[in-house]
Point group: C2
Chain length 192, copies 2
């Protein structure tokens, strides 16, 4: 990104970021809260009751130490490091990382989705979109296979969220899937 973007929009020079009046704001979760408080996004996405909001926050925090972290690490190990160094990851490291990601999916399946179809109650919220799009990325990039029989609740969530957001969702993830196909052979280790 450009120097003027850093100066005028986000001082960390990253996306996503918004600029509204004199407020320049980065970080998707912070943006989500801000738009929710301003009632710019639908209330089903940003519920008004404190309990649902608390549960969304709890998920967004949990995600950092778990799903987002482990998925990000897998991407880093299998794509970023090999791309930067030309050295393939060790099969065992990848195996351990996939096991860590499976532990997160197991928590999603058995704890988060134990009592309801969505992460917070019976309506789709921002939390679901975040969760599903993380999984979508590791699957789309051919880093991970989602076992629908092992994780039926997670699989249903993926289908429901895809269905709910429809074309814009597919369009956004097509980029990821195209990269997955394009670079699969480049980074194919045939061992992990």
């Amino acid at each position: 990104l450009t120097e003027s973007f850093a100066k005028d929009v986000n001082r960390f020079n990253k996306v996503p970021a918004i600029k509204e009046g004199d407020l320049k704001l980065a970080e998707s979760v912070a943006i989500f809260h801000c738009l929710g408080r301003r009632e710019i996004i639908p209330s089903r996405w940003y519920p008004k009751d404190i309990k649902s909001l608390a549960r969304i926050d709890e998920y967004l925090e949990w995600q950092h130490g778990n799903l987002l972290n482990e998925a990000g690490m897998l991407f880093y190990m299998q794509w970023v490091i090999p791309f930067q160094t030309g050295v393939k990851p060790k099969a065992e490291d990848i195996k351990n990382q996939i096991a860590a990601l499976n532990r997160n999916l197991s928590d999603l399946e058995k704890i988060w989705l134990k009592k309801s179809d969505f992460l917070v109650g019976n309506e789709v919220t921002f939390a679901d979109l975040m969760a599903v799009s993380i999984i979508e990325q590791v699957v789309g990039l051919n880093l991970f296979e989602l076992d629908a029989r092992k994780y039926p609740n997670v699989n249903k969530l993926m289908i429901d969220v895809r269905g709910y957001f429809g074309e814009p969702y597919e369009k956004a993830h097509k980029v990821v899937n195209d990269y997955g196909v394009k670079f699969k052979s480049m980074f194919d280790h045939g061992e992990a």
Copy 2:
């Protein structure tokens, strides 16, 4: 923690967690938001205006990918892994991890604290407490030395937050400092 704690308070069986009526909530940031919305914590800690809240959220997200992550990794490398495996970390890995933490401190110094004494405006907020207590932990555990000349803004923030919270703050961090002294020799590598 006990099975009944997992059942009755936090299904992830971790602290911090709160139980209020039928709401069982984990994750410090989620708890902070919840208590803030209920007006249980002072409004200076949980400002009412959307801009200040947005900036607090932005910091809390930034922290995950930066200060909290790198400090946690340093702790993990220098304490958890050696404790579990008996194998000392490589001096170079520790050096790189300390460099990563210094990059975060540099961002705190030059970006976050560029225009004001605190992370969000001119009053102490939850964001400051989070930031300072992370630094306090790596310093207290003898994993990291804060160079006050290199980071005068961060150093001032540490002093201000300590002064603001006084005795409860000192008491909470005494545990960390005691561990730091107690185990320093156990894990002292003399090389990092």
